[in-house]
Symmetry: C2
Subunit: 209 residues, 2 copies
């Protein structure tokens, strides 16, 4: 197609080159994610990424400081995705209890639908401590969930310690269930759903006491 010709003649070459560089930056990330998806995160290597984008390995260092930076960027993408899913689920309901259930179910679904992301975010090198720095303010799972929790408890400040405690209770049981399930694939899906729902409604009930 004539796109490249148009670009050559009608655009500043600086911008064109800048866009191309942006594209390879994206390509590197995509290639990395493909490899992780195909062969697992442990099989990811700089040379494999280079192969996939048809360059040699050192080129990648023009775009990312090192391998860790690539993993970090993927982690960031994962957290953004998760935040989106949770927000979306929340928006579908007005009832507080429904919101909470929907949000945690969205979290649960994300963990299995985007298993590679979830492992990168929580499993592998446990870099979920950077979550707060990475995400735009107001879009961490806490920010999304704390509102309904506080409201249900009759507490105005979502940063209140009591709210925080309940939030961690939710998070713990769900993250624990997921960790255990990602490993032990034996347990039936039905039982897991049951545990999950029981736990969520149990905690939710305990909010208004």
């Amino acid at each position: 197609m004539g796109a490249s010709k148009d670009e050559k003649y009608h655009m500043g070459s600086k911008e064109r080159i800048h866009r191309l560089k942006e594209q390879t930056r994206v390509n590197i990330l995509d290639a990395a994610y493909d490899i992780v998806k195909d062969e697992g995160w442990q099989a990811l290597s700089m040379r494999k990424i280079a192969d996939k984008i048809e360059y040699t390995a050192p080129i990648i260092y023009e775009y990312y400081a090192n391998k860790e930076a690539i993993l970090l960027e993927l982690t960031k993408k994962g957290f953004m995705l998760l935040a989106g899913r949770m927000q979306e689920a929340k928006n579908k309901h007005t009832d507080l209890a429904d919101q909470l259930e929907a949000m945690w179910l969205a979290y649960w679904n994300f963990a299995f639908e985007e298993k590679e992301y979830y492992q990168l975010m929580f499993g592998v090198e446990m870099n979920c401590c950077i979550m707060d720095e990475i995400l735009p303010p107001g879009s961490t799972p806490y920010d999304i969930a704390a509102g309904p929790i506080a409201e249900m408890m009759g507490i105005s400040d979502p940063e209140d310690d009591r709210v925080c405690t309940k939030y961690y209770t939710y998070w713990s049981i769900i993250h624990g269930l997921i960790s255990i399930n990602i490993v032990r694939k034996g347990t039936s899906d039905e039982i897991n759903r049951q545990i999950l729902k029981d736990a969520i409604t149990g905690i939710t009930r305990s909010l208004k006491n």
Copy 2:
């Protein structure tokens, strides 16, 4: 001391050598654990182990098939240790609820006192699926905890699905809390204890309904 002399004269050299080999087998494991404790599991390498036991790397392969086998052995040791702690905690009480609380507290304490083991067992490569094959029958956390749970629920068979579900609920929230806490060291210890106790008593209460 004269031990070596005695050994030389009064013992078959075969046994002496066998004992020495047993010792280096242990030394390898100890060296590996020391490195993991000092520099983290990711820093563990065959050459470093060899350095520590004052041999060269290939020697290790006389004792362990490969690096994975060493990690596996350490994992096994970790599970044995955990099982011991939980059993010990259980034996200190007669009341069922007390037993459950003590066991899960022991689990919690183990995770932080033996952080390296716990990470090896659950964090790193998630090889807790081999738990059942590794441990002697009757000493998995499930085996230890299922009894009191079943009894409290008025169920005779500890393998009952309802017991299993409750067990996973306990395990999930505790494992989740631990995972989150090993990463986010920010949260105060007091709050964590509170969440843990709340969760345990909450689930325990739900057993007899």
